[in-house]
């Protein structure tokens, strides 16, 4: 057992900044990370046990106890629930005879919950031993349990055909579907990889930056910072080494566009990283991918290998002296907050994914304290097209404030969930038409995932773009028959509670308080004061360090703003004040002990 660990440690040069990779390998080899291995890793890396333990215990997919020969992680996102997750979950627990977070007594199967796995367009979905299972039904759950008990391999458990496009390729072999519904200039099919790299060898890095600046492109991750400016800052910062990070940790529930790019246009993405590297003077790129997409690993590695063979990566790229750049893939291990750029860097350094204080910004002091650019997958893909066709061409799409196109991940109650590349400036009504949802059947649209806003029909004429409704690209369509407070708001609030890194007092404490208030209202025990309290308390979160904390009250605040009647219907009409103290609950235990009936 111990020699296996030694091999893993040596593979990563006993480098403690590669702790994530070490732990991922240990987890995959042993099925969990036993304490004696934690101690061994600590000793070999010159760390204390708690140093290693703080990283292990931070990530959802690391486990310190056995997770079973087969481990089923069933997605618990809001859309999964809308698509029938409960029946699937019930089937699993019944057929396996265990609850969630338990392992069968023979150690065969472990059943766990997990936050959105980026499959909202084909829910309910689960990850079983790093393989994705989509469109689950109670029937399928039964089949899976039966196959597991018969000891079948994961591959033999697929009964559906593989998905479309590259999902069928030998290195992926997955049942995931791309669901690309609308192709635009970024996703277009005629792309030939390498052309943009060849072109920039004839340009200076400054010219590349100028072209990107001219395009007015803004980062596609959600914050919308101008890409060219970010590159320029990084280029101008002195540092003995610089890094390009691609943020493929898309964890915002409802987002899955990066999954599709990674599957169908990975060369475009890698080319974008090379361009960014050339522009800022970086020599190393790191593609940080969420653990949920581990099924793409072999495929992506093979593409990188081919790029090295044809000298699109490596030394003196395409004959340009001194143009050196290579890319490595870093997997996460299940933490939404790692999508925040500084948390992502911390994680890539082998630490807990806690956001850093800013300033300094990553462009000044990022990965290993070196100047670092962190760009979204879509941003880097768009850059390739800007280099090929020019900033003016790019600007011809979209609006003045929001140039170019945007990939949208659309899911929920509509006929055609999937990925759509649209020009900025589409209204919500246009989108509903596009995805096959009748506006009259739609109660609400969640724009930008849980950290965004839930809007009602009276705002469906609003326009997607930085000037009106900014979004990282997730749209969830919520039909008339849905219970917004239970299906959506409660689910999102639980998501934020679970995904907080816990280091800011505000984000660690407030979401739980809001959750309890919401549950109280849902249980018909709320009063008007509870609504007012939630608004007041939610504001405190604005003092949190990162975007996760600052937006953790958004599901509640935006639903109170746009759907206040749903709350008011549920509160007690004749009661204005509630002390929050429940006497009968308080004396329940002592009454039970003494055998008395409460006299209230």
């Amino acid at each position: 057992m111990k020699t296996g660990v030694r091999k893993i440690l040596e593979k990563y040069g006993k480098d403690k900044t590669r702790l994530m990779d070490i732990l991922i390998d240990v987890q995959s080899e042993f099925g969990f990370i036993p304490r004696e291995i934690t101690v061994q890793i600590a000793d070999d890396l010159g760390m204390s046990e708690v140093d290693v333990d703080q990283t292990i215990s931070f990530y959802h997919f690391f486990s310190q106890k056995p997770t079973g020969k087969y481990h089923i992680f069933l997605n618990n996102s809001a859309v999964a629930n809308m698509m029938g997750r409960k029946e699937v979950a019930d089937t699993f627990t019944r057929e396996l005879g265990i609850k969630f977070d338990e392992v069968t007594s023979d150690g065969l199967v472990g059943l766990f919950e997990t936050s959105c796995i980026g499959m909202n367009d084909q829910e309910p979905a689960a990850i079983i031993n790093n393989h994705i299972f989509t469109r689950l039904t109670p029937f399928r759950a039964k089949e899976i349990v039966r196959d597991i008990k018969e000891g079948k391999s994961i591959e033999d458990m697929f009964v559906a055909d593989y998905g479309d496009g590259e999902n069928r390729s030998d290195l992926i072999k997955s049942v995931v579907s791309n669901n690309i519904r609308k192709i635009g200039p970024i996703l277009e099919r005629n792309y030939k990889s390498g052309q943009a790299i060849e072109k920039i060898t004839q340009m200076t890095p400054e010219q590349v930056i100028d072209e990107v600046k001219k395009s007015n492109m803004r980062g596609r991750g959600g914050a919308g910072f101008p890409t060219g400016l970010k590159w320029e800052f990084c280029r101008n910062t002195k540092g003995e080494k610089k890094y390009i990070f691609c943020n493929a940790d898309e964890g915002e529930p409802g987002t899955f566009k990066d999954r599709v790019i990674l599957t169908e246009r990975p060369r475009l993405l890698f080319e974008g990283m090379v361009i960014a590297g050339y522009a800022v003077g970086a020599t190393e790129g790191i593609l940080y991918i969420r653990h949920e997409y581990k099924y793409l690993q072999a495929y992506l590695e093979s593409i990188l290998e081919k790029a090295r063979e044809s000298n699109y990566l490596g030394k003196n790229i395409q004959g340009k002296k001194g143009f050196n750049f290579d890319i490595r893939i870093q997997f996460g291990a299940g933490a939404y907050v790692c999508g925040e750029e500084s948390a992502l860097i911390e994680s890539a350094e082998g630490k807990r994914g806690e956001p850093r204080d800013r300033p300094p910004f990553p462009v000044e002091k990022g990965y290993l304290d070196m100047p670092t650019v962190v760009n979204n997958v879509e941003t880097l893909c768009s850059v390739v097209k800007v280099v090929l066709n020019g900033g003016d061409w790019y600007k011809s799409f979209g609006t003045t404030e929001s140039t170019g196109t945007k990939l949208l991940s659309i899911s929920g109650d509509c006929k055609f969930p999937g990925v759509y590349e649209v020009v900025w400036g589409f209204s919500i009504n246009d989108i509903l038409d596009m995805v096959g949802a009748h506006a009259e059947d739609v109660q609400a649209v969640q724009v930008g995932g849980p950290s965004g806003a839930i809007i009602a029909a009276n705002e469906f004429n609003r326009i997607l773009g930085y000037e009106d409704l900014a979004t990282g690209g997730s749209l969830i369509i919520i039909g008339k028959n849905r219970d917004i407070l239970t299906n959506i708001v409660l689910n999102f609030t639980e998501f934020f509670i679970e995904e907080s890194c816990g280091s800011c007092s505000t984000c660690r404490i407030i979401p739980t308080l809001l959750h309890n208030k919401l549950v109280k209202i849902l249980n018909a025990r709320g009063v008007k004061q509870d609504i007012d309290d939630m608004i007041e308390w939610g504001r405190i979160l604005k003092a949190s360090r990162c975007g996760l904390g600052q937006t953790a009250a958004n599901p509640i605040l935006s639903s109170i703003k746009n759907f206040r009647q749903l709350y008011e219907e549920k509160i007690q009409k004749n009661k204005v004040f509630d002390s929050g103290f429940d006497l009968s609950a308080a004396v329940k235990e002592s009454c039970k002990v003494t055998g008395r009936v409460p006299n209230i």
């Binding site: 046990e49 140093d51 333990d53 703080q54 204080d357 300033p359 890194c501 308390w537």
Partner: protein, 237 residues
């Protein structure tokens, strides 16, 4: 570039050395910005958020933000102080804090801040979490009921090779500060005392010693926290 920068706090002209963190720059100008997770000489980590100020209209933590020329800082204003008071209350309801029975009473920064901000009863519901007391180490007790997760011990106390003795475990509301099983056993008397002194509350207590300074003569028994800074004689540069 000049070594000095000019900025304002609540409209008052101030001056300090470039690159200083706002809390320190403010202190040098006789202005107290309340802090809790911050500790002199230890790398800041804006965790508690109590030192939140508004810099040029934006909420920032004063312990992590370097001062820059022309900054306009809002500190002693109603909504900022209200936010700070809220955070103090939140820290009280998050754990189990029974001041009268605590060895740190009077030296406790959380208690002192609560007095300074005139907290009476928290507006938030007590969570009454079930937390453990870890007394397994020879020199210290780690009292989790009182831990406010400020990371001061984590950042300030390491062994001679830089290994952590204290560390976070888990995440979200389940996060806790734990002691390394091995290094905790080897903790020297000196480091144990330092850990207790670094802890702003009574979560790290040195064993077999108590109430060395009697209640009534402790740091914040007679003067509110921050008053040393506010009563400082300032020599204007």
């Amino acid at each position: 570039m000049s070594q000095f920068v000019r900025f304002t706090i609540d409209g008052t002209e101030c001056m300090s050395t470039r690159g200083q963190y706002l809390v320190d720059a403010a202190r040098d100008n006789g202005v107290y910005i309340p802090t809790l997770c911050n500790f002199p000489g230890v790398k800041p980590k804006g965790g508690c958020r109590i030192c939140t100020v508004r810099v040029n209209g934006k909420l920032m933590t004063a312990c992590t933000t370097p001062v820059a020329e022309g900054m306009s800082i809002e500190n002693e204003i109603k909504d900022i102080n209200e936010l700070r008071k809220s955070i103090i209350e939140l820290l009280f309801i998050e754990g189990n804090h029974f001041c009268p029975a605590c060895e740190k009473s009077g030296n406790c920064e959380l208690q002192a801040l609560a007095y300074r901000f005139r907290m009476l009863v928290p507006r938030y519901p007590y969570q009454f979490p079930v937390r453990r007391v870890d007394a397994s180490h020879p020199r210290i007790i780690k009292e989790q009921n009182r831990c406010i997760l400020c990371k001061r011990c984590i950042r300030a106390i390491t062994d001679e090779t830089g290994r952590s003795i204290f560390a976070y475990r888990r995440r979200s509301a389940r996060v806790e500060v734990v002691v390394d099983p091995k290094l905790g056993k080897q903790l020297t008397e000196e480091l144990a005392q330092k850990a207790m002194d670094v802890c702003p509350v009574g979560s790290i207590i040195v064993k077999e010693k108590g109430f060395h300074v009697p209640i009534g003569e402790r740091k914040y028994d007679t003067t509110p926290i921050g008053s040393d800074i506010e009563n400082m004689q300032i020599t204007k540069i």
